[in-house]
């Protein structure tokens, strides 16, 4: 493409909304939050420089944040793999020619469509309550359960993981699209060579889906780290019982907007940025070992 002066101007006119928004709502805030993270700042008075004190406090004094890290990592490391495993399994199940496919697809997708809403979080809270659907079902099949799954420190986080896994539908749709793109003759050739179904899955399906798995893994990990609404609603903004649902975003919100410790919350935000960044790099670097890119051919 030959570049002309006009094109430079026209190009910047067209991307101006992005460039402006990027500077105002992304770049400036990133550096402002880095600056705040070295200050004591309550919004009412201007920020006061305190050096690394916020970071020291995070790692030396704040017991809650250690708990919050533990809870968040448990949540991310259990919900993301489970969600992807469900998404892929059900996608495999639905990858056949049947007229009912549209209905099935909708039924599995619907939860992920509404799952992020406050309404569903409220619903979840009641389903796992002491007189909720789960206990009612357990009693029906003869198990005498009266525990409040939300109020019990051993199971509270599990209900959040379950809520996340329940929303596997959008990943399932992405996997379904990927499965449709695998040429049928690959499978036929493998069958001729005597490969059985599990072997065809491991040798053909899985390798060809790895780029999609990688994409899903990264996006889902980042969004799992940011989970806020269900933890807030289910624990009524407290993160309890015994801080078992105090996901990092919820703790950060409480520090910033309940206690107005903007400096400390900014330091937390930066630590999160670093962790998510490192994790993304780690996934990308490991991907050269397990992601299979089809060569485009000459």
């Amino acid at each position: 493409m030959k570049l002309r002066g006009n094109d430079h101007i026209a190009g910047y006119v067209f991307i101006a909304p992005f460039v402006l928004g990027f500077v105002i709502f992304t770049i400036y805030p990133i550096f402002a939050s880095l600056y705040y993270s070295f200050t004591d700042y309550s919004l009412l008075t201007s920020p006061r420089w305190i050096g690394l004190a916020n970071y020291e406090r995070m790692f030396m004094e704040d017991d809650k944040i250690a708990k919050s890290f533990e809870v968040t990592f448990t949540y991310v490391l259990s919900s993301v793999p489970l969600r992807l495993a469900f998404a892929l399994s059900v996608a495999m199940l639905l990858n056949t020619a049947t007229r009912a496919i549209g209905i099935y697809r909708s039924a599995f997708y619907l939860p992920s469509l509404i799952g992020g809403s406050v309404a569903v979080s409220i619903m979840w809270q009641q389903i796992f309550g002491d007189k909720g659907l789960i206990n009612s079902f357990l009693q029906y099949i003869g198990i005498d359960s009266t525990t409040n799954w939300i109020g019990n420190p051993d199971t509270a986080l599990g209900t959040l993981v379950a809520l996340s896994v329940w929303q596997f539908g959008s990943s399932m749709l992405i996997f379904l699209a990927g499965l449709k793109n695998i040429p049928k003759d690959y499978y036929e050739a493998a069958s001729v060579d005597g490969a059985n179904a599990p072997r065809r899955f491991v040798r053909i399906t899985l390798p060809l889906l790895t780029p999609i798995i990688l994409f899903n893994l990264i996006m889902q990990t980042i969004s799992a780290f940011m989970t806020f609404t269900p933890a807030y609603i289910i624990s009524r903004g407290e993160g309890g019982p015994l801080d078992q649902t105090l996901l990092y975003s919820l703790y950060l919100y409480r520090k910033a907007f309940s206690h107005f410790e903007m400096g400390y919350a900014s330091a937390m935000a930066w630590i999160m940025l670093i962790i998510v960044g490192l994790l993304t790099i780690l996934i990308f670097r490991s991907s050269t070992r397990w992601v299979h890119y089809e060569s485009k051919g000459e």
Partner: protein, 279 residues
């Protein structure tokens, strides 16, 4: 023949049971919204109410301290519609710039855009709050709506993919007819990318409708609450025992989302499958 038929039956039964299991919580929510208050938790497993308690809907609709759900729904629609118009229009403009015009440092800006897709929102939320507080915008809808007028990376990417499928010959022909870049965008590109714009609008609708954190941070008067924030009030304090009303309004808040899904299903499935948008 009959063995194949059996296998098909088993398949359909198994998948249907699984699908029903997935839908069960939602069906439970709807059924609870129609149960008399005393029945909701005594017969939780039973999906069929003994009598239809439509009064849950009227008692829920009454809302809190004189503010009804008519106001909350109106606020939600104002936020969703204004944000969506801004997000889709600005994203289309930016997408055309990236997809069709070669300009200085295009690759750099494109990389910046892709990077913001992966940026945790928590990092920018505090400085944005401070900034909007300085503007005096706290407790107005501006901080919730305005940022969407500066293009949404996901939508830009989705629309770009779509523009790439339009033959460049169309642009060339329009240019020979005397169209400028701006003319080509308005007359040639926009009419052809309508499906991508609809897909973007649908996702914008979902995300804005469900948004909870931004209203929670910026709004402090119930008169300006959207539905998502209003639902939370059922869990606060004195109204704690109106379960029926809470379930009724929770159900009602999902109606627009589910309705849009059934009307625009095709766009949604295509949108997710081609770009990896999260629903």
């Amino acid at each position: 023949m009959s063995r194949a038929l059996n296998k098909r039956t088993i398949y359909h039964v198994a998948v249907s049971v699984l699908a029903l299991l997935m839908m069960y919580p939602i069906l439970w929510l709807v059924s609870s919204s129609l149960k008399p208050n005393h029945e909701i938790f005594t017969t939780a497993f039973n999906l069929i109410p003994s009598a239809l308690a439509f009064e849950n809907y009227s008692s829920g609709w009454r809302g809190f301290a004189g503010t009804t759900f008519a106001t909350f729904f109106k606020n939600s629609f104002v936020i969703v519609i204004l944000s969506t118009i801004g997000a889709v229009a600005s994203s289309a403009v930016v997408a055309y710039g990236f997809a069709r015009i070669g300009f200085f440092a295009r690759g750099f800006w494109f990389a910046c855009m892709m990077a913001t897709m992966m940026l945790p929102h928590d990092v920018v939320v505090i400085p944005q709050y401070v900034m909007f507080a300085e503007f005096g915008w706290i407790s107005s809808l501006k901080p919730i709506i305005l940022p969407h007028y500066f293009a949404t990376p996901f939508f830009v990417f989705l629309i770009m993919q779509f523009i790439r499928t339009i033959p460049r010959e169309l642009d060339e022909a329009a240019k020979i007819d005397g169209c400028s870049k701006y003319g080509i965008f308005v007359r040639v590109i926009v009419p052809l990318i309508v499906p991508a714009l609809i897909t973007s609008a649908i996702f914008s609708f979902y995300w804005r409708w469900d948004d909870f954190l931004n209203p929670l941070i910026y709004l402090n008067k119930p008169e300006s609450y959207p539905v998502s924030l209003a639902l939370k009030m059922f869990l606060d304090g004195e109204s704690l025992n109106n379960w029926g009303g809470m379930f009724a309004m929770a159900t009602l808040s999902l109606v627009p989302v589910v309705a849009v899904f059934f009307v625009f299903q095709r766009y949604i499935v295509e949108g997710i499958s081609t770009s990896g948008l999260k629903g």
